[in-house]
């Protein structure tokens, strides 16, 4: 199945992602990011964040629960670009309500033919309904191999 503009607006069911302390610690350790902002409350209180937060890319670790309603060929998908937009700091202990939506579908002509792009925005809201962050994933959808369905 190829992409088309009619997919814009299709959204996942909302799901809850918990910002678990142990998971944040393991994530920071795997990256080798030892910033005390993620584990030292006293240090973090004196920063612009006014308290502990999570590594800037941690939000991807929360996305693995999304059940996406598009049937796409994973072998054709390539992660092209990633963006995080922070409206307010994400806190350890937050329960974020996440909804993934197709926000754009477009074509671009490159060396190996026409490539399709799919933009997926995951909006993350805190329990009081305030938008905390958006994780924007741009997927390159490569042309189907000739002879394959």
């Amino acid at each position: 199945m190829d992409l088309d503009k009619s997919m814009i607006g299709i959204a996942s069911k909302p799901y809850i992602a918990e910002v678990d302390r142990e998971r944040v610690t393991r994530f920071a350790q795997a990256v080798g990011d030892e910033n005390p902002l993620y584990f030292d409350e006293t240090y973090a209180a004196d920063t612009a964040y006014e308290g502990m937060t999570v590594p800037p890319t941690f939000l991807v670790a929360l996305g693995s629960n999304a059940k996406f309603p598009l049937k796409l060929d994973f072998k054709r998908m390539l992660h092209g670009e990633q963006e995080f937009i922070y409206h307010k700091p994400v806190r350890i202990g937050d329960r974020l309500e996440c909804t993934m939506t197709v926000t754009d579908v477009y074509d671009r002509v490159g060396k190996s033919g026409t490539m399709q792009f799919l933009v997926l925005d995951t909006e993350m809201k805190t329990e009081d309904g305030v938008l905390a962050a958006v994780s924007r994933n741009t997927i390159i959808y490569r042309p189907a191999k000739k002879g394959a369905n």
Binding site: R23, R26, F27, Q29, A30, V31, G32, D33, E34, N35, P36, L37, D46, T47, A48, Y49, P55, P56, T57, V60, A61, G63, S64, H79, G80, E81, Q82, E83, F84, I85, Y86, P89
Partner: protein, 147 residues
Amino acid sequence: MKAITKIPFSELHKEMQLPSLAKPPVTHEQLVQYAQASGDLNLLHTDDAFAKSIGMDGVIAHGMLIMGFLGQYVQELAGTEAIVSKFNMRFGAMTKPGDAITCSGVVKQLIEIDGKRVAELELNAEKAPGERVGTGSATLTCKIEND
């Protein structure tokens, strides 16, 4: 923590080359740790035999791990005065175990939004001089009033 980048926000200026962050070489063990920590369990990143079966020389790093390195870098640049309000990366060449990534950045613009000082940075991740594995940008918003 190696405090590489304690630059007061007020000292940032346009076209300023920021101090770089040299990460230790990526290891196979780190890819296994990152797979578990991030939930990206694609065997392409952790299983050499699987990677070879799909025509690769061996495992390659998760693109998001490299973005994690750039994330560490921008969060250090934000220091205690600023927050990272926007952060973006476009993935380039592949990273393999043994590759050592260096993160670097340049201040592209200093502007004011809603009375707050904002720095727009251009970011680069390279595995060797000129061999880009990712390019990106970040927006730092200063929370300290300008005096």
